[in-house]
């Protein structure tokens, strides 16, 4: 048990995976000597050599396409995409190749590829450095999508993702890379992949979120408690598949739910959550599921991001809506 940042835990997780399985190889831009722009692969090339920790040419489709070939040959590539906004050149290889190869070969070929992506905003960065592309991948059959929120989960879920025979999109909320926590790297535990977790129990409403907004939701729950409102907070962790058992059980108890994410609202993950919750909990719902999300706009200049990103106040505004109290959510149609 030791204190680590989330970035440190990911580094430790990659080291553990490289050590445990000689088939694990890391690929990406600037991940070698530099250790990645976020230093997540710091020291790993020195330790495991340039064959296992490969700096690649500057071409994302090339990274994923060669990862497909490596996986075809029995390797377990862990690809780093430098920033969320740079995954799109690899989109074709991901949706048409990575996601479909198992089905295309009737199960003969597994592509156990992990695609690590620092995602999301809140760090005052330039264009294309703050996207939340999870909906694109959660809509794509054949992929699993994971989003981590703290050091222990980052360590554990990274192990699970790399060990999984399915391809996994692994989202790391970059604004939490410095978040500290206790990490037990030795514990034996059931695989967490595919499961959500209830981080805080409550009775008045459920807040469902993931990644960078988990801390925001917890803070909102604290603030709400001060006002006598008891919020349950769920960290989804797995965005595809969604752990409906955990989510539905909570909403059936509370009868009210707010889902929140950074990505634009329309056809976002919040739409699936709202739809799926309504399907499963219709007769328990006191109010329609409320979505508190980024707007339907390209990610704005950094001085405006605080307005675009759901924060504590906007989340509580959504909670007010779910509770039927006055809020900015009026009857709109």
């Amino acid at each position: 048990m030791s204190t680590m940042t989330m970035g440190g835990a990911l580094n430790a997780g990659l080291r553990a995976a490289l050590t445990a399985d000689p088939k694990v190889v890391l690929m990406g831009e600037d991940i070698g000597r530099l250790g990645g722009v976020y230093r997540i692969t710091d020291g790993l090339q020195r330790e495991f050599g340039p064959r296992r920790v490969m700096d690649t040419p500057l071409a994302e489709s090339g990274i994923l396409g060669t990862a497909v070939g490596l996986a075809y040959r029995g390797y377990r590539p862990v690809c780093e995409i430098q920033f969320d906004g740079f995954v799109y050149p690899a989109f074709d290889q991901i949706v048409s190749q990575v996601a479909r190869m198992r089905a295309r070969t009737n199960g003969a070929v597994s592509l156990p590829i992990t695609i690590r992506i620092p995602v999301g905003g809140g760090i005052g960065s330039a264009e294309h450095h703050s996207d939340s592309p999870e909906a694109y991948f959660a809509h794509t059959p054949g992929l699993r999508v994971v989003s981590v929120a703290d050091p222990q989960d980052a360590y554990d879920l990274l192990q699970d993702a790399i060990a999984c025979d399915d391809p996994v999109l692994f989202f790391e909320p970059k604004r939490r890379y410095h978040l500290k926590g206790e990490v037990d790297t030795g514990r034996s535990r059931p695989a967490a992949l595919g499961t959500a977790r209830v981080l805080r129990q409550g009775t008045d409403a459920t807040v469902v979120t993931f990644g960078g907004l988990v801390q925001v939701a917890l803070a909102a729950a604290d603030a709400a408690a001060d006002e006598g409102v008891s919020l349950e907070v769920i960290d989804l962790r797995s965005l595809s598949p969604i752990d409906w058992v955990t989510v539905a059980a909570s909403v059936r108890r509370t009868g009210r739910v707010v889902v929140t994410h950074e990505a634009p609202e329309s056809v976002g993950l919040g739409a699936e959550l709202a739809a799926g919750i309504t399907e499963r909990c219709f007769s328990y719902l006191e109010h329609a599921p409320v979505r508190v999300t980024g707007f339907d706009i390209p990610y704005p200049p950094s001085k405006l991001e605080k307005h675009h990103l759901p924060d504590l106040d906007r989340l509580l505004d959504g909670v007010d809506a779910a509770l039927g109290r006055p809020s900015s959510f009026e009857d709109e149609s």
Partner: protein, 376 residues
């Protein structure tokens, strides 16, 4: 310094097609076998009997192609992409491969598949629409056909990196068309292969057409020259000359096995049929062009050569035809006997590990289908 593409080396035979000028050629269209200073040695061992075997291969795959085209016309297949005219390019290259080499191809490489050990019965199910995959890639050392143009060039490169990491001297080979060279993936594959000195052979069948688009739309200069610009040694070969194709592919494989890295082969050939059975080439191409290429037919020249040498007797010719017919009939029988797939197989092979959401959809659909059973 100024760069220009190196001029093609002096032409050996006068040839109507500029793309062939200076290409490696060992067996002329008239069936004359010549030496090639650089590549001749690679096929010195190919005697008449060996050449006859290559002839047999080509006749068989053309027969498969014709049969499958007929199956499509008769409604037994949904679609078929003919290789007519490209037999030498496919057989010559695929017969250069070792069992432990691995091929990543597009949809048109049924001749390659045949050489890899894919049975004719395995070739058709995908085009009949009854399954996603006709064969196990690992059994034959060949991936299932790639439909996304050029995507497989990167897969081959990655597989080659895996071979390199493993310390194997096997080689990956990527098959793709002239049109495919325009896709970004094809260029990125050259970059990755050059950077890592990957043991991969890029085998481009320049069949002059990408559906209705002539190769001139994809490139103002030679495709082989393009690879050279990436630092990948390249060669242009007469793709209708099975011996020359065998020779240059062997050379490329040998370089890769020895750690010399990637190579690029432009096999200049011609798609004599439609793009697929859904295509009508009369809308866009001059029949005269087809006629000119007919004179370069890849099978005829081997037949001419072997006949002149007294090897291809009427008897042996009949035996080859019989072999081809037998293969074709077996394929037809297997094809028409294919049952429709089980509806519930929809949900198989999407994930390796349990997926509750898909399980839910599956259970619901099972209930749905049951409700019709119940109704009966």
């Amino acid at each position: 310094m100024s760069h220009t593409v190196a001029a093609p080396r002096a032409a050996g035979t006068p040839d109507p097609d500029p793309a062939l000028r200076g290409a490696v050629r060992i067996l002329t269209p008239d069936g004359e076998r010549r030496d090639d200073a650089e590549y001749g040695g690679q096929v010195a061992d190919v005697d008449d009997e060996a050449l006859l075997a290559l002839y047999d291969d080509m006749v068989v795959v053309r027969r498969i192609d014709t049969e499958a085209t007929n199956l499509q016309r008769q409604g037994e297949l949904a679609l078929w992409p003919p290789l007519l005219g490209q037999e030498a390019a496919q057989i010559g290259s695929a017969r250069a491969l070792r069992t432990d080499d691995f091929a990543f191809t597009s949809y048109r490489e049924n001749g390659v598949a045949y050489c890899r050990g894919v049975t004719p019965a395995e070739l058709v199910p995908v085009w009949r629409g009854v399954t996603a995959s006709g064969w196990d890639p690992y059994r034959v050392g060949m991936a299932t056909p790639q439909v996304i143009i050029a995507a497989q060039t990167l897969h081959a490169t990655g597989y080659a990196l895996g071979l390199q990491h493993d310390g194997s001297d096997a080689v990956a080979i990527a098959y793709f068309g002239d049109g495919a060279t325009s896709e970004g993936d094809a260029s990125e594959a050259l970059v990755f292969a050059a950077t890592y000195t990957a043991p991969v052979v890029f085998f481009c069948q320049n069949n002059h057409w990408a559906i209705s688009e002539p190769v001139s739309l994809q490139s103002g200069s030679s495709l082989a020259g393009r690879a050279a610009g990436f630092g990948v040694p390249s060669v242009t070969v007469d793709g209708n000359d099975v011996l020359a194709v065998l020779a240059v592919t062997r050379a490329a494989l040998a370089r890769a096995r020895a750690g010399g890295g990637p190579s690029f082969i432009e096999a200049v050939t011609y798609r004599m049929g439609p793009h697929t059975t859904a295509d009508d080439p009369t809308r866009y191409r001059d029949p005269a062009e087809l006629e000119a290429w007919r004179r370069l037919d890849p099978i005829d020249r081997v037949a001419a050569h072997l006949t002149a040498r007294g090897v291809l007797t009427d008897e042996r010719r009949a035996a080859v035809t019989a072999h081809a017919d037998e293969v074709a009939h077996a394929m037809r029988a297997a094809c028409t006997a294919l049952p429709d797939p089980d509806p519930m197989s929809l949900f198989e092979h999407v994930y390796a590990t349990a997926h509750p959401e898909l399980d839910r959809q599956k259970a619901r659909y099972a209930r749905y289908l049951d409700s019709f059973e119940d109704a009966r």
